[in-house]
């Protein structure tokens, strides 16, 4: 023991860090902030440290070369002892980090922590969110498989839409004319050097401000922030009723961080590493590229935006969102902190959460995408064929062969790009069906050039049978009158 004490004294005489560290650890914090709501920031930092360690471990094996990255990932998964586990830790650590950063952001937003004097802390936090997402995207690229390859294509397509400099932006992003070795090398440099450098710098500033300005106090309804009086009030909260950060508050941070690390490890063991998927061979086009979980909402949004509005929304939307987040503390730097007195803040969070959740859910089912193999893989339900005429069955065949099933479902099987056709005869008359098939419209391709008159007749005859037995199909009353009484169905 005495030896350790002597060594510590020897070091402290030279480093002179003991006193400032002790002071930092024992700085007083408001009593109520020793709360389970205040653990997310430290948990995000814990995730980041895990990412640094596992990232360095992966870099021992990974080859940032377009020709070899995929094979080196296979080696990590299968050839290196527990390489799969390190990959899984890094992948799940990334998901947990994004999730915890988002939760942390929601918590500080709802607790009004961005108000005076912590405006800059929030702004740096916004930058931290951006670089965290940047790490997630560039990391997905380093897992150099089909999804990464085509994901880069999507990124390049978006970049190309920037007015004037778009094509140059694409060349700069890809490092050349196509997605190739230069692309992977620059994303490696971004993921391993540039963005982590920014992340470490921003985390340093963020933490420094948390220490200098003090942690945000627990918001009480009616305790309003005013620039003139806040510092004095906060000083009273900390120095008169406060508690030392260590050990009174820190034990919750430590326990929660341990819980998060354990959860990441559990996910890594149970679910294993992410991919890699198919080889990044651009001549293999039988692929459905999808982004990682935290970008799925964007993937869904891109399929719902109307074509004319897409480019402006893609280019202006993110800028508006980021600027909005950055200036928030400047326009709302004073006032109520408690979420109980800030209904618009609560509604905003709910709206954003519901929107992102819905879009993510949709992206997991991709109802906008044709089901590429429905025409050959999903048969027409038996009850739609029993007791039908030869012409109607011929029409059912046309329905399959011309791949209508890829976009239209029958009995909930097949694509959801277009409407389900189980009851289509109730909605459209025979003439309307013919017109829709031949001319298309309302997002349906025209099949006029692609169907013979006989095929069209058969297909429409089949579609005419698609209605419940106790409901009559739609009919054109005026046509019936014109054709004579015999055509009018008796009521």
């Amino acid at each position: 023991m005495r030896m350790i004490q002597k060594l510590a004294n020897w070091l402290d005489l030279r480093l002179q860090l003991g006193a400032p560290i002790r002071e930092t650890l024992e700085h007083p914090v408001p009593r109520e902030t020793a709360s389970w709501f205040y653990v997310f920031g430290s948990a995000a930092l814990t995730c980041f440290m895990l990412q640094i360690v596992t990232g360095i471990l992966l870099a021992l094996i990974y080859v940032p070369s377009a020709g070899e990255a995929w094979s080196s990932l296979q080696t990590l998964n299968h050839g290196i002892s527990l390489g799969w586990f390190i990959r899984a830790l890094h992948g799940w650590g990334s998901n947990f980090m994004v999730a915890i950063v988002l939760i942390h952001m929601v918590q500080v937003f709802l607790f009004g922590a961005y108000k005076f004097p912590r405006e800059l802390t929030w702004m740096v936090g916004v930058l931290l969110l951006l670089v965290t997402l940047g790490m997630a995207f560039t990391g997905q690229v380093l897992r150099f498989d089909q999804d990464a390859y085509w994901g880069l294509g999507i990124g390049a397509s978006i970049a190309s839409r920037v007015p004037v400099v778009g094509p140059w932006a694409v060349n700069l992003m890809l490092g050349g004319p196509i997605i190739a070795g230069a692309t992977l090398s620059r994303f490696f440099a971004l993921h391993v050097f540039v963005i982590p450098g920014l992340l470490i710098a921003f985390v340093g500033v963020h933490l420094l401000m948390v220490l200098k300005l003090g942690i945000n106090e627990w918001p009480m309804p009616g305790r309003v922030v005013r620039r003139a009086t806040y510092l004095q009030e906060y000083h009273e909260l900390t120095h008169k009723q406060g508690e030392p950060f260590v050990p009174n508050a820190v034990w919750k941070d430590i326990l929660f961080s341990a819980f998060i690390l354990l959860s990441i490890a559990a996910c890594a063991v149970y679910f294993g590493p992410f991919g890699p998927g198919g080889q990044p061979d651009p001549t293999v086009i039988q692929t459905s590229p999808r982004p990682d979980f935290f970008f799925l909402w964007l993937y869904a949004l891109l399929s719902f935006l109307p074509p004319s509005a897409e480019t402006p929304i893609l280019l202006i939307g993110p800028a508006v969102g980021i600027i909005g987040l950055l200036v928030l503390p400047l326009v709302a730097g004073e006032g109520e902190k408690s979420w109980k007195r800030r209904p618009i803040a609560v509604l905003t969070i709910l709206l954003v959460a519901v929107t992102l959740g819905t879009l993510t859910h949709l992206a997991e089912h991709t109802p906008w995408s044709p089901v590429m193999n429905a025409w050959s893989g999903e048969p027409i339900p038996q009850e739609y064929l029993q007791g039908r005429t030869a012409l109607e069955r011929r029409g059912a065949l046309v329905f399959q062969v011309k791949q209508c099933h890829n976009c239209h479902s029958l009995d909930d099987k097949g694509g959801q790009r277009g409407p389900a056709l189980d009851r289509v005869a109730l909605r459209l008359t025979e003439d309307q069906l013919i017109r829709q098939v031949i001319q298309g419209g309302g997002n349906m391709p025209a099949y006029g050039k692609n169907l013979s008159p006989a095929e069209t007749t058969a297909l429409v005859a089949f579609l005419e049978t698609l209605h419940p037995t106790n409901q009559k199909p739609a009919r054109n009353a005026s046509q019936a009158v014109a054709l004579g009484a015999s055509e009018v169905s008796p009521r």
Binding site: A66, L172, A180, P280, T283, S369, N406, N450
Partner: protein, 181 residues
């Protein structure tokens, strides 16, 4: 010499040092920026595109649309399989061809050809194109990108070398030309 004079002389030397560093920094910035912009500078100087053979015409029967692949003209040895690029070749009537990029005009995903329904369909966001490459439905704003082609010694040649993206003026030109063909 007074103390004040001393300080101001040292302050002047500090300023001189800063200015010198600024000048050196500016000198260094030029090659650094040029190095970073090399993908753009090369495009302006040499261009990325050149004429490439897709193989003999016999591979592309009349009235059919087939997948062809070529090696990108600008490659490095470490590019691996990413240097191989695919495209769709449509032989309209043995004299007229159309060569489409596999990249969807929406966001670049690879479109697949369905000969049964004569449609190109995109797996990402549901874009669809007719057999002549024109837009049929979905989010794309335009038809498929097309490569310029020519026939020499019974071989089909295309001008390619750069991934087509919606914002590219070159890709737009090719697309416009073919819609009136």
């Amino acid at each position: 010499m007074s103390a004040e004079n001393n300080i101001s002389r040292r302050a002047a030397l500090v300023k001189l040092g800063l200015v010198l560093n600024g000048i050196v920094g500016a000198f260094l910035a030029v090659p650094i920026v040029r190095y970073l912009l090399s993908p753009v500078i090369r495009e302006k100087k040499l261009g990325y595109e050149s004429w490439l053979s897709l193989g003999g015409l016999e591979q592309f029967p009349a009235g059919q649309t087939r997948l062809a692949t070529y090696k990108n003209p600008v490659v490095n040895v470490w590019d691996g399989e990413t240097g191989d690029i695919a495209c769709w070749v449509r032989n309209v009537d043995d004299h007229t061809f159309q060569v489409f990029a596999v990249n969807c005009a929406h966001l670049g995903c690879p479109v697949r050809w369905f000969p049964q329904s004569n449609l190109f369909m995109c797996p990402c966001h549901g874009g669809a194109y007719y057999q002549d490459g024109s837009r049929a439905s979905g989010p794309p704003e335009r038809g498929l990108f097309q490569y310029h082609y020519k026939i020499e010694d019974g071989k089909l040649l295309i001008k390619a070398g750069e991934m087509p993206t919606p914002g590219q003026p070159v890709a737009k030109k090719a697309g416009e030309k073919m819609t009136c063909a």
